[in-house]
Amino acid sequence: MRTVGWPRMARLTSLVGAAALAACGSDPRYVQGPMGVEYDPALQGGDPAPPLPTVTLALPFALERDEDAAARAALAAELGVEVPYVVVDDLDVSVEWTLKNLEDQPGQARVHLNGSNPFFTYVPALLTIDPDEPDAITPPPLLGDIPIDVAASGTVDGVFREDELREASIDLELITRGNLNPFAAILINHEDLESYQPLSPIDPDDPEAPQTPVGPPLPIEAFAQMVSVDLSLEADRHMVLEFAVRVRDRRGEILHELLDSAPAGELTAYAPVVYDPLGAAAP
């Protein structure tokens, strides 16, 4: 009896250990926003109105390993499109936020989430057609822009979920590399998208002109993950937004072990271009 007991216990121990290791595979890591986003209505007046206060948080990605770069180059050659270091299903990202009303009157606020992937930065204000017209419409942010009631001196917590951030990353690619109309990209759910045929850029002189297919289709395997998030706030009271980004690294090798405490030279640096097909950005 005793001669067979020990192997059984060894197997049991191995199973428990394996389960524990599996549970550690995509443990969440938190990156705090570098500062709060403060909106004071008294400072936001003027014509034209100044841009919304925005805080950007770049995700701390480790440098790409040589073997990963080689595998990525091979995949890019196979697909015929550029494949970024971090694609949408490499990470699960969510943004948790807390909104504080600093006044003793109830107020309402809107939180906007935009951001960048390795190629482009999305700035909705630059995509306003005929911005000088009184009924000009600006495309929505990638996420948010929902009115939030905040009690006097009160606090509200919220989260942009992992599935929402995944959708935002896809939408950003559709808008920028795909040249899809931002309204269509953001208002339609692309959860099950497998590939997308990029279109010709919007003609700034004739934004209503039809777009034509350009280049090979962009498969979901090549869709870039957002590498930084921009949190903006607008409110009718003096409020502060604090946030933290929660990341689960499915590959287990993308996030730097030290996160934002890592030396700058050990982090992947990105220089995305502001997506500005209408040429609206200040020179």
Binding site: M1, R2, G5, W6, M9, L12, T13, V16, G17, A20, A23, C24, D27, P28, R29, Y30, Q32, E96, W97, T98, T155, D157, E242, F243, A244, R246, E257, L258, L259, S261, A262
Partner: protein
């Protein structure tokens, strides 16, 4: 009246019984133990962490009834109560340790004391916000001690127990934790 006359005799029998009793038979040798309970962190860590459920398994060898050597694997889950954000997030502590246990038996009951040395892994860096963790820190040495009470069932292989332990995690800002558990122990 008849019943009253028998009371002194019955009392005498009851009082004399322990002297005649022998310790209930219990196996020695390889053992396995599974328990569940709760873990509570103390001090500053306790301000940022809610008590949470815990599961633990232990296996080892008991050469004599008074000494057992073994290893334990334990996992507990806790809600981080750090200032928001994040809000309502949970993390897990996974512990592996080597243990020594000393046991003194009195019939069917046993008192035991145990001590352990091992390591703890924390599944999240959420406690960085309150400086309990340093950047990149996820592992700590774990030093612990505890005591408990064990009840030997009539089947010599099985015992039920109630135990409490204290643990020190030096790398996690010297966090201390106390745990309580009930367990079932099987000795081959």
């Amino acid at each position: 009246m008849t019943r009253a006359r028998h009371v002194p005799l019955a009392l005498a029998l009851v009082l004399s019984a322990p002297a005649a009793a022998v310790a209930r038979p219990a196996s020695t040798g390889y053992f396995a133990e599974a328990g569940f309970g709760a873990a509570v962190q103390l001090g500053e860590a306790g301000q940022s962490t809610a008590p949470g459920p815990q599961l633990a398994v232990r296996v080892g060898y008991e050469p004599w009834s008074w000494l057992a050597l073994g290893i334990q694997l334990a996992a507990s889950s806790h809600e981080a109560t750090v200032p928001a954000p994040p809000e309502g997030e949970w993390y897990q502590l996974y512990r592996g340790a080597a243990e020594v246990r000393l046991t003194g038996r009195l019939d069917r009951l046993a008192l035991m004391a145990e001590g352990g040395l091992g390591a703890v892994y924390i599944s999240s860096n959420v406690l960085e916000k309150v400086a309990i963790l340093e950047p990149g820190e996820a592992l700590s040495l774990a030093v612990g001690a505890g005591a408990g009470l064990e009840y030997q069932l009539e089947n010599r292989h099985y015992a039920l127990g109630l135990a409490g332990d204290w643990w020190l995690l030096p790398a996690f800002a010297s966090t201390q934790a106390v745990e309580g558990r009930v367990y079932l122990r099987y000795t081959y």
